[in-house]
């Protein structure tokens, strides 16, 4: 029974070897370099460990007979011992130097940077990510939140900043960690070699909802990415149905506009996620809930029971206002 339980526990960690947020299932040069290092270190050091344990076991079994006179020396044995120990020390030095060299060589992938590539500014807030796509042309810049789309197979430069406390940007399948520090800008280059969605997570404790500060990186072929970007650049389209028109009115008459922006309307708040295309994102509240009608409604009615402490207050909404408001938000594609 105990043994079976132990086996189950040993198997559980294997789950970490695959998935959309795993440092052992990598799809970018930086993360792959890290993964290669991980396996190299694991095998070399594992081998050394087995060797050492073997030597310890051997020396326990083949003790020197007791009663030997310590003053009587055996020059041949002493020289054997000398050679063995120097050999072990030399091997240790070689191992350490090799591993250091390998780590050093990996930095080429980890810190490689080009500045002629797509540049995105990521700003950490308690507890969500603001994402600003930069461009030399003003009409190609736009803002979104918590979901970063990138063209597959191309390097992308991230400029990391923070508006409050230290956060850390970590997408295990694509890159190592990099901190977002108030008052300075760090940069990190990422690249996805395979199409797909990769989950990221804040990796520096930043307060109550640190655990609910996730994000999504979506890598798509260049053409699809361009289509997505053209749509994101656009202002919100005016609502067509009566229900959504009413929802828009409700949105404008509530505190929502103090914090949120919907481009193309008078809602100009800049301190919370941009909602211009919130309906097109896969998750709301920084990877906490999938974007569905029910979840949007649940969030608006009571954000504080979903993410206690989050910087969105409970706002009084009349029962008949909820449906139109949700339709309005859901339709912001």
């Amino acid at each position: 029974m105990h043994r079976r339980l132990a086996c189950v526990f040993l198997i559980l960690p294997l789950g970490a070897c695959q998935g959309w947020q795993s440092a052992l299932d990598t799809h970018g040069p930086a993360a792959s370099a890290l993964e290669a290092l991980f396996w190299t270190f694991l095998s070399v050091l594992g081998f050394v460990w087995v060797l050492t344990m073997g030597a310890v076991a051997l020396s326990l079994r083949r003790r020197r007979p007791e009663g030997e006179d310590p003053l009587v020396t055996n020059p041949r044995r002493e020289s054997r011992m000398g050679w063995t120990i120097s050999g072990a020390v030399a091997l240790t030095v070689v191992t350490v130097l090799t591993l250091t060299g390998l780590s050093y060589a990996s930095q080429k992938h980890l810190f490689e940077k080009r500045d002629d590539v797509l540049t995105i500014k990521v700003t950490g807030h308690q507890w969500w990510w603001q994402v600003d796509y930069e461009d030399s042309q003003a009409d190609k810049r736009f803002t979104t939140a918590n979901e970063i789309h990138i063209p597959v197979g191309e390097p992308v430069l991230l400029k990391l900043e923070s508006s409050d406390v230290i956060h850390s940007f970590w997408v295990p399948s694509l890159t190592g960690k990099m901190d977002l520090i108030p008052g300075r800008q760090n940069t990190l280059q990422i690249q996805a070699d395979r199409e797909g969605s990769y989950r990221g997570q804040c990796a520096e404790f930043c307060g109550w909802q640190h655990a609910h500060m996730g994000m999504l990186i979506v890598a798509r072929p260049k053409a699809e990415f361009d289509g997505w970007r053209d749509n994101q650049i656009r202002d919100a389209t005016a609502p067509q149905t009566d229900e959504r028109k009413r929802g828009e009115q409700i949105f404008f008459s509530k505190p929502c506009v103090m914090c949120h922006q919907v481009r193309g309307t008078s809602a100009g708040g800049k301190v919370a996620p941009d909602l211009t295309h919130v309906g097109s994102r896969q998750y709301i509240a920084a990877g906490t809930l999938p974007t569905t009608r029910g979840n949007i409604a649940a969030w608006i009615v009571d954000p504080q029971s979903i993410k206690p402490g989050a910087q969105m207050p409970v706002i009084k909404i009349e029962p008949d206002e909820l449906d139109p408001l949700v339709s309005y938000l859901e339709g912001l594609k």
Partner: protein
Amino acid sequence: MNRIVAPAGIFLLLVLGACEREERAFRADPIATETEEKIALVPLSPGSGPPVEHRTGKGKEYEDNAYHVAQGKRLYTWFNCNGCHSNGGGGSGPPLMDDRWIYGGQIENIVQTIREGRPNGMPSFRGKVPDDQIWELAAYVRSMSGNVAKDVAPGRNDDMHPRPAENREPDSPPVAGGSIPPSAEMPQ
């Protein structure tokens, strides 16, 4: 022996203090709308005695709670109060860190100022800022002139300090008076 055990015991008892911490009220009552404060803006009233007022006491809940005051400080810039009042020294709006108040410096008066607006250019935030956040803002405004406890007032800025931190402000109990900066005065 006792010379060690007794102080150690006291020390351990002190540690118990860490078991209780300040309540953080994240979730305001979703049903409640506006608090029913009844505040007069003048000391005069017909008949004998001052005007009839009613203060619910809710103000203390906010003024005595560091979390609320800190939230108020964040909202002060989020909702652009600093656009008109600067960091408390005043701009097109009157200074908030001095002891002079046009419309009264009690927390209930400040709540009223924020919620209703004031005729010479102070916007009304009714319906645009939930009630509990108005109270948080008002509690923070009080801390700017040293009118909340030192251990409750914000201690330092995360960025540049334009002035001493709120918990280092000298106490300045409210005095009636205050003046509207000429830039904000309505053309007559």
